[in-house]
């Protein structure tokens, strides 16, 4: 689909029902710029979200949510004025524009910029995934998976399945005259299994999705794989013993364990924290912050991935940005404001949860490139350590650099072999030094299944992570079993 068709579709969805024209946007941006601002933009958004939940063998709940609105932002040096309206009309737009511009000084008239239609990638289709499958079929799919899963093991006590789809139309106009639209589909399937045996209960979780439609998600092997993984995880944890406590060699599995990169270095390389000098990575450009085996990128251009975008939420096309190359810190992640203040170019990482939230520099899909070792070789090299195949979430203090992530599926490694499973435990490390302890990088790069949600300043956005199998020579494992 061409950018022209996208723009006219977005106009039809967002502007026409409100009797707004592109000229109204330009006039309001000119008003916002009158106060000698550096930048101003308007972000129109319409989003529809639908989900169904199956529990106790029946699809007992469904939700449908429609949201729309416009966010107005004025940027003046380090200052930002921001206002939004969930009503789309010319008076509401003007009110938001006036509120946003109160951040900067009174100024003079400025010239209206000639509109420039911007060009983004074409990484995903624009069709509405909610209507890509009959509602009755969605319900039937959930029942079918539930029936199949319950037959797999008598220990299954509870199955909760959900199927969600959303469709967003956005239109961005800014002070440079740029006008750009994007239509963003997203689908997601989730499963939680609770198992019970001999009075002990555990849960396992699985799921995934991306920027495509429900037919693609449900008609392949994926849903069955996610269900199987959730069950295996729950059964494994029924057998799990106390996790060790203290520093040890940790091997991280491929794919979602890349949440390590997201927490340990990704957040610390976001432009706002580095401009303000509050990140543990500030002023370290060009320094070795990882072992030479590590090359880490952020890439918003992967087709149909959860973290991908044709353009970011400021209209900048996304790109692949090398964060760390052979261990050396190469780039930060930028939105327009922080790039301007640090005399850099935006890397297409300006993102926002919705029209009601201001733009922040955020990650897209963050992953480490593959190395030379076979995963079995890496495990065989460990005399005594932990193998963590899957994780829950993580968190980082970007100033001290300390980060955590919580294992949800782990085994003890003894003499190069996977031994007993151990309970979930939090792993804690230091962002600027943990990658310096990566001594082996696998040849098996995997991206996660499409489950990541990243939170920053109270805003959630979808992201992806990935990595090959990695060996970290020392990381602190937060189990209960000291000296074990």
């Amino acid at each position: 689909m061409t950018e022209h068709t996208l723009l006219s579709q977005a106009q039809q969805c967002l502007l026409e029902p409100a009797e707004l024209q592109l000229d109204h946007l330009r006039q309001n941006i000119a008003r916002m710029m009158q106060h000698q601002a550096d930048d101003a933009d308007l972000y129109f958004q319409h989003s529809v979200h639908e989900s169904f939940v199956l529990e106790d063998g029946i699809v007992k709940e469904g939700h449908y949510h429609v949201d729309q609105g416009v966010g107005a932002r004025v940027v003046h040096g380090e200052k930002t004025g921001f206002a939004y309206s969930d009503e789309l009309s010319l008076p509401a737009l003007q009110q938001a524009a006036d509120a946003a511009r109160s951040i900067s000084r009174q100024g003079q008239d400025i010239q209206l910029k000639t509109p420039v239609m911007a060009r983004g990638h074409q990484l995903y289709g624009s069709d509405n995934p909610i209507t890509s499958m009959d509602t009755a079929d969605k319900v039937a799919w959930l029942r079918k998976l539930d029936g199949w899963l319950r037959e797999q093991n008598p220990a299954i006590h509870q199955v909760v399945l959900s199927l969600a789809a959303s469709h967003q139309t956005i239109l961005i106009a800014n002070a440079e005259g740029m006008q750009v639209a994007d239509i963003r589909p997203m689908v997601r399937f989730n499963v939680q299994v609770v198992v019970e045996r001999d009075g002990r209960r555990e849960a396992g979780r699985g799921g995934g999705g991306g920027r495509y439609d429900l037919q693609r998600l449900m008609n392949g092997d994926l849903p069955w794989t996610f269900c199987r993984q959730a069950l295996d995880q729950a059964l494994l944890n029924l057998e799990a013993q106390e996790a060790p406590a203290g520093p040890m060699t940790v091997v991280l599995g491929p794919g979602w364990p890349g949440v390590l990169l997201h927490e340990a270095i990704g957040h610390g390389l976001e432009g706002d924290f580095n401009r303000k000098g509050v990140s543990a990575f500030a002023n370290r450009m060009g320094e070795a912050v990882a072992s030479s085996a590590c090359t880490v990128v952020d890439d918003g251009t992967l087709a149909e991935r959860r973290g991908s975008l044709n353009v970011d939420d400021e209209g900048t096309p996304t790109q692949q940005t090398v964060l760390i190359e052979n261990g050396v810190l190469k780039n930060y992640l930028f939105d327009r404001q922080n790039a301007r203040l640090m005399k850099q170019q935006s890397t297409g990482n300006g993102r926002r949860e919705s029209y009601a939230h201001p733009v922040l520099p955020r990650m897209t899909n963050t992953y480490m490139l593959p190395g030379e070792y076979a995963p079995e070789e890496i495990i065989a090299s460990v005399k005594d350590g932990l193998y963590a195949a899957n994780f829950g979430g993580g968190q980082v203090d970007i100033t001290s650099g300390k980060f955590v992530f919580s294992a949800s599926e782990a085994w003890r490694i003894r003499d190069g072999k996977l031994c007993e499973p151990v309970k979930g435990a939090t792993l804690i490390g230091d962002g600027p030094s943990v990658l310096q302890r990566v001594s082996m990088v696998g040849n098996n790069l995997e991206l996660d299944a499409g489950v990541g949600v990243c939170g920053k300043d109270g805003q959630s956005v979808p992201v992806g992570v990935g990595q090959p199998t990695l060996k970290v020579d020392e990381l602190t494992v937060g189990g209960t079993r000291a000296g074990g």
């Binding site: 029946i58 429609v66 969930d86 937060g478």
Partner: protein, 459 residues
């Protein structure tokens, strides 16, 4: 200097919100009526309007000014036990009718669950109470900026080790919500909430940086702690973390500050909440009447405290809230249930759809200093990070920071450690409760001294 240009003398106009209250009632009435016309046998609708602002000043300048205004309507319909839910941010009559239509469409496709439905009529609240929750902001933008700048300035000036800042922020929200259902319940709640916070960065001579913060929150902006005091407290909390080191792996008692105790109580409420109980995803299934804490521990709900952040006379379904014990003399005295989870468990709703109301851990006699003395040698926990809590088993493993305490005295700051244990054992191990209640949230609690936990660190 800053020169903020604005057209309104008041930063937020509360009268505008109050004028819209009638619109919210109309929206709810229209939604109920449309759903009945569609054939729904039960229906519930909630409409809300919230307006606010947040102002951040950093390094002596206004950094950002955000204006918020959110409106929404949610509708839930039931057709013989089948349920559909839809919501919209557009409160026009056309959008409301579409939203109702969508909810009904969904209900027709879902399957009947006998536990679905509105609360039983006798559970509904019928006594409106004035809870002193409405104190709209009464300040000009200049005054807010002055107050926020003063907060950060006091922090920056407090100690030469404070070398950077993430700024001081003032945020203010005031909102109205109206809930109605087809059993004839209508309830309106009005609430304001204001907070002032400050986040500072300290740096030592080796380039090691630490960040910490302080804040206050209140229904009434005039009741907030003085701006300068908040800035100074943030500075003190930040600089005292400089030079933090890790610990050798060990077992030691842990003293939770009031803010950390709040996190523990949140886990307790999660484990006692109906959703986790009927799914059996809690380690506290069938725990009613069982001992969980030592017998000096009392935890209860106080929904009618005037001016408190968690007060309300009805829950998200219109069920009457109650003053009641959750933990009485250390034993589990009540679950945390909505109508649905109550029916699943064969019980009555406890008025907790949407959460607890001023959950309170009763304070003890001991000052924070006395608790340090009682602990002797151990960890004073001031921060946890991560998501390492498994409510099904109670297994607990979190990243931590705080202070190592020796002979009742703070010895040095610690970081890059984890604390681990099991919530059941942690609750049973409570040694003492402090007298230092933190009431800056819906959950009100003091410091809590726990028995030994596993602390993991390097070495």
């Amino acid at each position: 200097m800053n020169s903020i240009q604005h057209t309104q003398p008041q930063a937020l106009d509360a009268t505008q919100i109050l004028q819209r209250e009638a619109d919210l009632h109309e929206a709810v009435a229209l939604a109920l009526e449309s759903a009945r016309k569609q054939g729904a046998d039960q229906v519930e609708a909630a409409a809300s309007l919230d307006a606010g602002l947040s102002l951040t000043c950093r390094l002596g300048e206004v950094e950002s000014l955000e204006h918020h205004r959110d409106m929404g309507l949610g509708i839930t319909v039931y057709f013989q036990g089948r349920k559909g839910n839809a919501s919209t941010a557009d409160l026009s009559a056309r959008a409301i009718r579409e939203c109702v239509q969508k909810a009904c469409d969904i209900a027709r496709l879902t399957e009947a669950d006998p536990c679905n439905g509105l609360p039983e009529a006798e559970w509904l609240a019928d006594t409106p109470r004035e809870l002193d929750s409405w104190h709209p902001l009464n300040a000009s933008m200049e005054q807010l900026i002055e107050r926020t700048l003063a907060c950060e300035q006091a922090g920056l000036a407090a100690d030469p080790a404070i070398r950077n800042s993430e700024g001081a922020s003032f945020s203010s929200h005031q909102g109205i919500s109206v809930l109605g259902n087809s059993l004839g319940f209508t309830g309106t709640s009005r609430g304001s909430r204001h907070s002032l916070s400050c986040v500072l960065i300290a740096e030592d001579d080796h380039g090691g940086m630490q960040r910490d913060y302080w804040y206050d929150t209140s229904r009434n902006a005039d009741m907030l702690e003085a701006a300068e005091a908040i800035g100074r407290r943030a500075a003190e909390r930040t600089t005292r973390r400089l030079g933090a080191r890790t610990l050798a792996t060990c077992q030691a008692p842990v003293l939770f500050t009031p803010e950390m105790t709040r996190g523990l109580l949140r886990q307790l409420v999660g484990a006692l909440s109906g959703g986790n109980l009927y799914r059996k995803t809690s380690f506290l299934c069938d725990s009613l009447g069982q001992p969980l804490f030592p017998n000096f521990v009392q935890i209860h709900e106080q929904p009618f405290l005037p001016g408190a952040l968690g007060s309300g006379w009805f829950d998200n379904e219109g069920v009457a809230t109650r003053e009641r014990a959750i933990i009485d003399q250390g034993q589990v005295a009540g679950y945390v249930l909505s109508s649905y989870s109550a029916r699943k468990l064969g019980m009555e709703s406890t008025g907790n759809a949407g959460g607890t109301h001023n959950l309170t851990l009763d304070p003890g006699e001991a000052s924070p200093e006395a608790l340090l003395q009682q602990m002797g040698t151990g960890l004073l926990l001031t921060e946890t990070i991560g998501h390492g809590i498994n409510l099904i088993t109670g297994d607990y493993s979190q990243g931590a920071a705080g202070f190592w305490v020796e002979n009742g005295q703070i010895a040095y700051p610690v970081e890059e450690i984890t604390i681990a244990g099991n919530l059941r054992e942690m609750f049973a191990s409570v040694q003492a409760i402090g007298n230092d209640v933190d009431a800056r949230a819906s959950t009100r609690c003091p410091s809590l001294l726990l028995g030994p936990m596993t602390i993991a660190g390097q070495g």
